[in-house]
């Protein structure tokens, strides 16, 4: 679609609206460098009597154990990402490229899986992990992420792989390549854009998960950053500057990924919207 210029007046309006939209973020940054005593005594809308540019962040990082929680987030997210992309690309390859009975049925199972409210799985998964002895282990949380996100990833990759011209695969077959070789030497490299988009999006989603962490971990020392941020409440009850500082540290990895991989993130979202 053709793009027009907009009027200067509209640009000014948009600037004001955008700044208003960002107020929650500014307010969080401003809160994180104050002290609770100062907030209570003088209210939010006051010049800070004392600035704590780094102290609150330091306290949240070490005393609040955000350092431990962030490490846990990576322990969960990285293996889950690898497992998820590996398994879903295999499933997607089969669904996109082979004719077999029940192909569409299986594909629809994946599509429906992406739409379910995952909370309904809370209780069965909780019991399942207890039965198989995975309760309170990283493995349980990693496994449920892989399992639950398979639906979305398979759906996106399958539709992407269908767009690859069949002649390429045929030519490789003529040259005597086996089916598995077709997958990892031809299909995977060709699917890199989709894999990158999915990887970025899924990193953010898994990193931001809260429900599975609180359902499947008993030991707070294993919490990822999301559950950890909430656990700060127990330690710093209403010390908002420290609570907010901890929250801000916990978002650094996803904000970092988003800043540098924004294009992929947005591609992932639009790929997944049923194109």
């Amino acid at each position: 679609m053709r793009r027009r210029q907009i009027s200067p007046l509209m640009l000014i309006g948009l600037t004001i609206f955008t700044l208003l939209w960002l107020v929650p973020i500014f307010s969080a940054l401003y809160t994180a460098v104050r002290t609770q005593g100062d907030l209570t005594a003088n209210g939010f809308f006051s010049l800070p009597r004392e600035l704590k540019l780094t102290e609150n962040f330091m306290t949240a990082w070490s005393t609040g154990k955000i350092n431990v929680y962030l490490k846990n987030s990576f322990i969960i997210t990285v293996p889950a990402l690898i497992g998820m992309l590996g398994l879903s690309s295999l499933a997607a390859f089969a669904l996109a490229r082979y004719k077999f009975r029940g192909n569409l049925l299986i594909y629809f199972m994946f599509v429906v899986g992406t739409m379910l409210p995952y909370q309904i799985l809370m209780i069965p998964v909780f019991y399942l992990t207890q039965q198989v002895g995975l309760y309170d282990q990283y493995g349980a949380v990693i496994a449920i992420h892989v399992a639950f996100q398979l639906g979305f990833c398979t759906f996106v990759l399958r539709n992407f792989m269908r767009t690859v011209p069949g002649e390429i695969l045929e030519a490789a077959r003529m040259d005597g390549a086996g089916e598995f070789r077709l997958y990892y030497q031809i299909m995977m490299p060709l699917s890199l854009p989709a894999l990158a988009a999915l990887g970025t999006l899924e990193f953010t989603w898994i990193f931001n998960d809260y429900l599975w962490a609180i359902v499947l971990f008993k030991d707070a020392n294993k919490y990822p950053a999301t559950a950890g941020v909430n656990a700060l409440k127990g330690q710093f009850i209403t010390d908002w500057p420290i609570l907010i500082a901890g929250s801000l540290i916990a978002t650094i990895p996803t904000v970092f990924v988003f800043t540098f991989l924004q294009r992929y993130f947005i591609q992932g979202l639009t790929l997944g919207s049923g194109k």
């Binding site: 969080a28 569409l104 409210p117 909370q119 990193f207 999301t226 801000l248 988003f258 639009t270």
Partner: protein, 241 residues
């Protein structure tokens, strides 16, 4: 099951989910579409502005909850401080926001919508990018003004995107959990309870696993009412290949 339907707390949560859903179908959809129409124009700083609206999307709901909770605080929060400064009304006469049973749910929904608008905007922007501009040019030649172009050409062409946006709004409103669990846990007196959080409390705080499972089944049922028509549609297009 029978106990569930006579349970006031559940009824409350169910109604709250419906309010959430109604708000999500309307407000973020309209706002997201409006923002997408604006960002589809050329202007300096377009990318930076866009990022401001995407940003809330990558921040985890837990952190979004914390940030808004701090803003809503009646005594030291940003909102009442600003109101107090502008209007001069003393803090104790200003709304209690999350402490007020009539306001608490809307406080949470607004925070949730803050994340949602960027998402809707992304989807509409992608739709606008892939629009066929020949139709628009034809409308322009026929003398349609910008408003007519939007209503009679652009909006109908974006139909498929709108369907996706509405489906996502339904799913996300029924999945609502973190924002409630972190800020109020359904308090005061269940005024801000939602089904998913009620299920969690029943299962893991009160150990009524059977009761919580019944809640899960009802939640699934509500979801199916909304997504089955959409799935049938998708299935039809898929089988045409």
């Amino acid at each position: 099951m029978a106990r569930l339907f006579s349970d006031n707390m559940f009824k409350n949560a169910f109604l709250n989910n419906l309010k959430w859903l109604a708000f999500f179908l309307l407000v973020p959809t309209v706002m997201g579409l409006a923002m997408a129409m604006i960002f589809n124009n050329k202007f300096p700083g377009n990318r930076v502005f866009k990022m401001a609206f995407f940003a809330p999307l990558v921040i985890s709901p837990v952190v979004v909850a914390k940030i808004w909770e701090a803003m809503y605080r009646p005594d030291t929060g940003l909102i009442n401080s600003v109101l107090n400064t502008i209007t001069g009304i003393p803090i104790k006469d200003l709304p209690g926001w999350m402490a007020d049973p009539n306001l608490v749910l809307w406080c949470i929904i607004v925070a949730a919508a803050w994340r949602q608008v960027g998402y809707v905007m992304i989807l509409y922007l992608a739709g606008l990018k892939s629009l066929d501009s020949t139709l628009l040019e034809a409308a322009t030649v026929d003398g349609a003004n910008r408003w007519q172009q939007f209503w009679n050409v652009i909006f109908p062409l974006l139909g498929p995107v709108t369907v996706v946006v509405l489906v996502i709004s339904v799913i996300d409103s029924l999945r609502a959990f973190e924002l409630v669990a972190i800020t109020t846990n359904g308090q005061p007196g269940g005024a801000s309870q939602v089904i998913a959080n009620y299920m969690y409390i029943e299962a893991f705080n009160n150990y009524n696993m059977g009761y919580a499972s019944a809640t899960a089944v009802v939640l699934l049922g509500i979801m199916l009412v909304f997504i089955i028509p959409y799935l049938i549609r998708t299935a039809r297009t898929e089988l045409e290949y």
